[in-house]
């Protein structure tokens, strides 16, 4: 059956200033679906061995979500994949909103960008053409300013732009790429843009996006939309993910001061819920992606300040600059988040880099005054100058701009003990010592320490004291990994995950209705497993070995010091056994790539 949606692949070579457009076969969509599945397939076809992530050969792949620009809710999304300059491994991020929809309206399933431009360049893609424009006047501007300037220059407010800020231009290895106020943040894709001297990609397209079975698509989408405005998503709609903070604090699982503790005495002062409950002091603004009924983003700013400085209060961002830096000043945390968005930095990695520096300073490995205000846990005044120095690669900021793994090697003196990362990617705000299945997923995740690809904490959090067999935990980790691939290939927002009664059955039916390519639940699981195998195969070609699937030594050597989980640590032998069980189960499932030692 013929794939109904936009099917063109646009290949852009910045060195040669050429563009080539060709249609992808039906078989490609049947094999990889779209989004992450398609992006990973396209990387797999182009990366044959170790390469310099900041070199000409590293491809940047945009792959549209196959439900973008259709009635399917929470699905205007696209994947953005490359080889990460932070980890040296595959990095597949997601972004969303209007840019994702217009990608398909340009008739495109994917874009691959290679090469390095001679000068700063904006690539402009209109429905049938590609132009290379001088981006020199945009250098030094934020993604938001860049978008505004480009729209003004075209006299068209409807053009869609993805761009990097100063951090990407300066090659900060955790620089983000932004479109429509959304960021593909993790893993440093913004630095790959910068290395290619690619400031922005502009889309202008109004083409029709064909749907194979519009009636069935509308019926399924309407049901999903109705569920997406019900109780299953209320915590995102009403409170936002920042509400996690109080919950994890009560559970004694809130990583604090660079994972030296799991409860934070200042948690109540820094929770975004406090701003929401203090309507006399704070203004709350709401935002969300195009076509999404959840509208999960909650931005806050003090009422006596400019509302344009309102900052997003996502849990991971608040955690990174709040508890993880020991900072209990919500205004300082919101300012740090807003500055990261302006400069184009991943908030998790930036906060983790500062927390790492704070601990290094407390152990006398670096100067306390490296950023002006004292570099110590709890000092909110150091966040803004530290972030500016990182984005500008100035002084200690230049060291931290390469991520905590590389920074610890440069600082030396045992700084490696304080570098909280997996495969080079800084850890998100969940405590592996209290979440055994998550610890396994975090170690095996092909992207490094990504909570969205290794979302195995769900089962652990349901009953933190539950004893479970290794095989059960390993199966949960595999299922979570493969299911994340399915979500990210379709690409649906994970915030509607509870809105499906039987995800594989319903989602495969939705795919069939939209694309016209038959798929059942089993086929969806098999497609996800194929993509997971490709991810690991790519990493293996880039030099990954099973020995890289480790967690920071702190989790084995330092028990949680206080709180309801005091004394808990990860037993290294137990984790090794879990990993062996995981690998054995992957082999049993027919994984056709290196899966490590049993």
């Amino acid at each position: 059956m013929t794939y109904a949606g936009p099917r063109d692949l646009l290949e852009i070579d910045l060195s040669e200033r050429t563009a080539r457009r060709a249609a992808l076969d039906d078989a490609v969509f049947a094999d990889a679906l779209g989004g992450v599945g398609l992006a990973v397939r396209l990387i797999d076809e182009r990366v044959h061995g170790p390469l310099d992530p900041l070199g000409a050969l590293n491809p940047i792949v945009f792959a549209a979500g196959p439900f973008a620009s259709t009635p399917v809710p929470a699905a205007n999304k696209h994947a953005l994949a490359t080889i990460s300059p932070l980890t040296g491994l595959l990095n597949e991020g997601l972004s969303s909103s209007h840019f994702s929809a217009v990608l398909r309206r340009c008739g495109l399933a994917a874009i691959v960008v290679t090469g390095i431009a001679d000068d700063w360049t904006t690539v402009v893609i209109e429905s049938g053409t590609v132009r290379f424009e001088d981006a020199a006047p945009l250098v030094g501007r934020s993604a938001r300013e860049t978008t505004r300037a480009l729209r003004e220059s075209y006299g068209d407010r409807s053009v869609r732009v993805c761009a990097i800020g100063v951090a990407g231009e300066r090659g900060v290895r955790y620089a983000a790429v932004e479109n429509d106020g959304r960021q593909a943040g993790r893993g440093g894709t913004g630095a790959v843009f910068g290395a290619k001297r690619l400031k922005a990609v502009v889309l202008r397209g109004r083409g029709e996006v064909r749907i194979a079975d519009p009636e069935r698509t509308a019926t399924i989408s309407a049901a999903l939309r109705e569920r997406a405005v019900g109780p299953k998503t209320a915590k995102y709609r009403v409170l936002g993910t920042g509400a996690n903070l109080r919950v994890l604090q009560r559970m004694g699982q809130l990583p604090t001061r660079n994972f030296t503790a799991a409860t934070f005495e200042g948690a109540e002062r820094v929770t975004p819920e406090r701003a929401r409950e203090s309507r006399g002091s704070y203004l709350e603004l709401r935002a969300g992606c195009a076509g999404c009924p959840v509208q999960c983003e909650h931005l806050y700013v003090r009422k006596d300040r400019d509302r344009r400085s309102a900052a997003a209060s996502e849990y991971e961002s608040v955690w990174a600059f709040g508890p993880n830096c020991g900072v209990d000043d919500l205004d300082a945390v919101l300012d740090a988040i807003g500055l990261c968005d302006e400069l184009g930095l991943d908030t998790i990695s930036a906060g983790s880099a500062i927390a790492f520096a704070m601990e290094c300073a407390e152990h006398g490995l670096i100067a306390h005054d490296a950023f002006g205000p004292e570099l110590r846990f709890g000092n909110g005044a150091v966040l803004v100058p530290a972030i500016e120095a990182i984005a500008q690669r100035r002084g200690l900021g230049d060291v931290l701009a390469d991520g905590v793994r590389a920074a610890s090697e440069r600082i030396g003196g045992g700084a490696e003990r304080f570098a909280m990362h997996a495969k080079g990617l800084e850890l998100p705000g969940y405590e592996p010592r209290t979440l055994p299945t998550y610890a396994l997923g975090l170690s095996t995740c092909t992207r490094g320490a990504c909570h969205n690809r290794a979302a195995t904490y769900d089962r652990d959090l349901r009953n933190p004291s539950e004893e479970r067999a290794d095989a059960e935990r390993a199966r949960d980790a595999i299922e979570a990994e493969d299911r994340a691939v399915a979500w990210d290939s379709l690409v649906l927002c994970k915030f509607v995950r509870d809105c499906f009664e039987d995800f594989e059955t319903e989602a495969s039916a939705l795919w069939s209705a939209v694309s016209g390519v038959p798929l059942d639940a089993r086929g969806l699981r098999e497609a996800a497993q194929r993509t997971w195998e490709r991810k690991r195969a790519i990493n293996a070609r880039l030099g990954w070995t099973p020995a890289d699937d480790i967690l920071p030594e702190r989790f084995f050597a330092e028990p949680i010091p206080a709180g309801s989980n005091a004394g808990r640590r990860i037993d290294p032998e137990r984790l090794a056994e879990l990993r062996a069980t995981y690998e054995a189960l992957r082999r049993q499932a027919g994984a056709a790539v290196p899966v490590g030692q049993a």
Binding site: K235, A243, N244, V247, P464
Partner: protein, 89 residues
Amino acid sequence: MTVELFGMSRALAGRPTVTLAVEGTVDYAGFVRALADAVPALVPDVIVPARDALVEPNLLLLDGRRAPRGGERFGADDLPCVLFLASGG
């Protein structure tokens, strides 16, 4: 029995704790019914209309550490908390 509330349950109740009219111990379904009696606004966003279970992703954990086993009875000393599954994006 005092119950700590988090997330939507706290937002809907408008307070961080609520006291249930429960003497001694109670099982899961009895707990949810007592909670619905104390804070009717929790139905249907946090408590299902049948008033015998919490709506996912809300969950009951004792002292924020463990879920009650099937049929287990628990009391105020077990420090019941209505939490939710934390998840980021």
